[in-house]
């Protein structure tokens, strides 16, 4: 019941409507869009599954981004951090053709996530401790991140032949759902648990609305900010592993390219405002799925991938304008006018 109430909340209604519209378009114009097959090895296969599992790394990134944006900040380094994480994991595993990893798999995964957390600590220190504007502070890793990843990989694309590495972006044998989707589900549950069962959510919102007031209310603002950026780094590290595993390689130039923008979009589509304060986890998830649905739709109708950003921009522009306070007010005024003229007409009659 509680969930239902939250779904019908006005800020969720819009992203849901956008997603529904996209899906309707697909149902009408793309053959077999909703067809899901069960393959011989038991894996599920079809465009809806594609959307969900390709969206999973974006969902994870956007979760971290939601908290960051709720504090009134932004983390534009996440795409580059993805590249660092994928690079460190692949370097640890090594590109040996026989498929024997240089270091244990668990260690490599920890290394990838650890790289993300380290990046988060760096960002957090700059923003929370040295009070540098979030955009500027994270800009440093945005520009340096790919360079670091290049250094790690020696400027080469390291292909990993170790089989289990491909399970992260594919399926673990015997489990029909893509692993990336399961990881995303775990992260979502974790975040919802944190949001509901701890006072962290309240603290984040409070910091986002007014830092000074929060301080006087006894909230450790520095610590909250610090944690938020570390969590974003952790999310980026996890997403990086998934992105790397999709192609079973570390491509420092292209891994997670422009994903920071998609993550910010997902958050704003979900109804969270860039000025901070109230946030909507559900909205973020739907936002991320909407963006991926849009991408998959474009591929399905044959729009080439270099023109995709233009189409994306138009759709997003529409959604954002509709969501804006000013537009809502204009709409209300219009309704009022209509109402009053209708009333007048009724009078005349």
């Amino acid at each position: 019941m509680d969930m239902l109430k939250k779904l019908s909340h006005s800020s969720l209604a819009l992203p849901l409507a956008a997603l529904a519209l996209l899906l309707l378009f697909n149902a009408l114009f793309v053959d077999d869009f909703f067809k899901i097959e069960v393959m011989e090895n038991g894996n599920l296969y079809g465009r809806p599954i594609d959307i969900l599992y390709r969206a999973s790394s974006l969902i994870i990134l956007a979760l971290g981004m939601t908290f960051v944006i709720a504090t009134g900040g932004v983390d534009i380094s996440v795409g580059a951090v993805c590249a660092i994480s994928a690079a460190s994991c692949c370097v640890m595993l090594g590109g040996d053709i026989s498929g024997i990893p240089e270091h244990p798999f668990v260690l490599a995964i920890l290394c990838g996530i650890g790289a993300g957390v380290l990046a988060g600590i760096w960002n957090g220190t700059l923003v929370a401790k040295f009070k540098i504007q979030a955009m500027v502070a994270t800009l440093i890793l945005l520009t340096a991140g790919r360079g670091i990843a290049q250094l790690l990989t020696d400027g080469q694309i390291i292909t990993v032949y170790y089989k289990p590495f491909s399970y992260i972006g594919g399926n673990i044998p015997g489990i029909p759902l893509p692993t990336a989707l399961l990881i995303a589900l775990c992260m979502v549950s974790l975040v919802i648990w944190l949001d509901r069962k701890t006072s962290l959510g309240l603290m984040i919102q409070s910091v986002g609305i007014n830092q000074t007031a929060s301080k006087y209310a006894g909230i450790n603002v520095t610590l909250v900010l610090f944690c938020v950026y570390i969590f974003s780094g952790f999310c980026a590290g996890t997403a990086g592993l998934i992105e790397g595993s999709f192609i079973r390689a570390a491509d420092a130039n292209n891994c997670g390219l422009n994903m920071e923008m998609d993550a910010i979009l997902a958050v704003t589509l979900g109804g969270t405002l860039m000025i901070g304060g109230k946030y909507y986890i559900g909205g973020t998830i739907i936002g991320a799925i909407t963006i991926q649905t849009l991408t998959t739709t474009m591929y399905a109708v044959g729009v080439s991938s270099d023109r995709l950003p233009a189409v994306k921009a138009v759709v997003i522009l529409l959604i954002i304008v509709i969501q804006s306070e000013k537009f809502k007010q204009m709409y209300r005024n219009y309704r009022l006018k209509q109402g009053s003229s209708a009333a007048k007409e009724a009078e005349h009659a």
Binding site: G155, T159, G302
Partner: protein, 328 residues
């Protein structure tokens, strides 16, 4: 204090003398500006230029532009000031070279372009271009394909009368993508078997693995059992596509014939594993030809405006044999 100064002066003199004596020992001085090190392919290209310079006993002044045109222009200007015998460079972009090349011409230093194309108002600003020929690469892809189809008597999987081809294009507007596409199309149109093929879909995958994978995924969803052949404009996209094909439960190189361009190590491994059929080489080992041509120019011999390196076609049955000799 005085002692320090004398020591510094002496050491500078010694270094200078040493550099002069090594310069004297070499025949020619050639300035070379490389783009940077963006890929394995480029690294192989750089290493080959350096190795070939040593073989030819050339005093090579090598400069890395780190992906910036202004750095290349600066480097070329330095080469002119140093009065090198010849200037070579890999133009990072096609335009904006007129002024600096005019300066070189005024200083009477011949310019030799390597690997990439450039457009200048006056063709005489550079002597010749060494490089790969993406148009011919595209042609070779089709010719190999047609041969393969003929030899193996390949039949359309959907039982129709035409073999369906899907194409993963490179970055839109890049010379490599345009050349390869034209070469392939022209060879297809000129072929006596042109009615045998049908291009089902063609989309860009931006030369990257991830995009190649995503676009192929979409092709398979739309056409699945119709696709007989995949032509990828580079190996990386083919490698991404192979994963989509496998994820869809199809067999790469068996259900769908896969041919791509470049010849990187990854595709050789895929061919050894039986997951790709052939790759047309895009050869980065251009150093030898570069210095040979440079020597000819300096001797006053005439050279053609475009000099192309040799490029082979490698197939899966030879992959294991060739693999150990690959340098990139």
């Amino acid at each position: 204090m005085k002692l320090v100064k004398t020591l510094v002066a002496a050491s500078i003199a010694a270094v200078l003398a040493a550099s002069v004596s090594t310069a004297m020992a070499k025949d020619l001085t050639i300035g070379f500006s490389q783009i940077g090190a963006e890929s394995e392919w480029r690294t192989a290209n750089t290493n080959d230029v350096k190795a070939a310079a040593q073989r030819h006993n050339i005093n090579l002044k090598f400069s890395d532009a780190q992906q910036k045109q202004e750095n290349q222009i600066k480097a070329i200007r330095t080469f002119i000031a140093q009065k090198v015998d010849l200037i070579g460079f890999v133009p990072i972009v096609a335009t904006g070279w007129d002024n600096i090349l005019r300066e070189a011409k005024r200083a009477k230093i011949p310019v030799l372009i390597m690997d990439r194309d450039l457009s200048v108002s006056d063709d005489s600003l550079y002597v010749a271009k060494i490089g790969t020929d993406s148009y011919t690469e595209g042609k070779k892809v089709f010719n190999w394909l047609d041969n393969y189809v003929e030899k193996n008597n390949l039949k359309p999987r959907d039982g129709g009368d035409k073999l369906n081809i899907v194409i993963l294009e490179g970055t839109v507007g890049s010379s490599a993508a345009t050349g390869r596409a034209h070469g392939f199309d022209d060879a297809l149109k000129a072929s006596e078997h042109k009615d045998r093929y049908n291009i089902l879909a063609s989309q860009t995958g931006d030369f990257t693995r991830q995009k190649g994978q995503e676009v192929m995924e979409s092709f398979i969803k739309s056409y699945r059992d119709k696709i007989d052949i995949l032509f990828a404009h580079n190996d990386d996209m083919a490698l991404g596509a192979i994963q989509s094909i496998e994820a869809a439960g199809l067999k790469p190189a068996k259900d769908i014939v896969i041919v791509s361009v470049d010849g990187v190590k990854g595709i050789f491994q895929a061919m050894i594993d039986g997951k790709a059929n052939a790759t047309v080489e895009c050869n980065p080992l251009q150093g030898e030809l570069f210095f040979e041509t440079a020597k000819k120019i300096l001797k006053g011999e005439k050279v053609p405006k475009s000099v192309f390196v040799e490029e082979g076609v490698f197939t899966s049955d030879k992959a294991a044999e060739v693999f150990p000799t690959r340098k990139y």
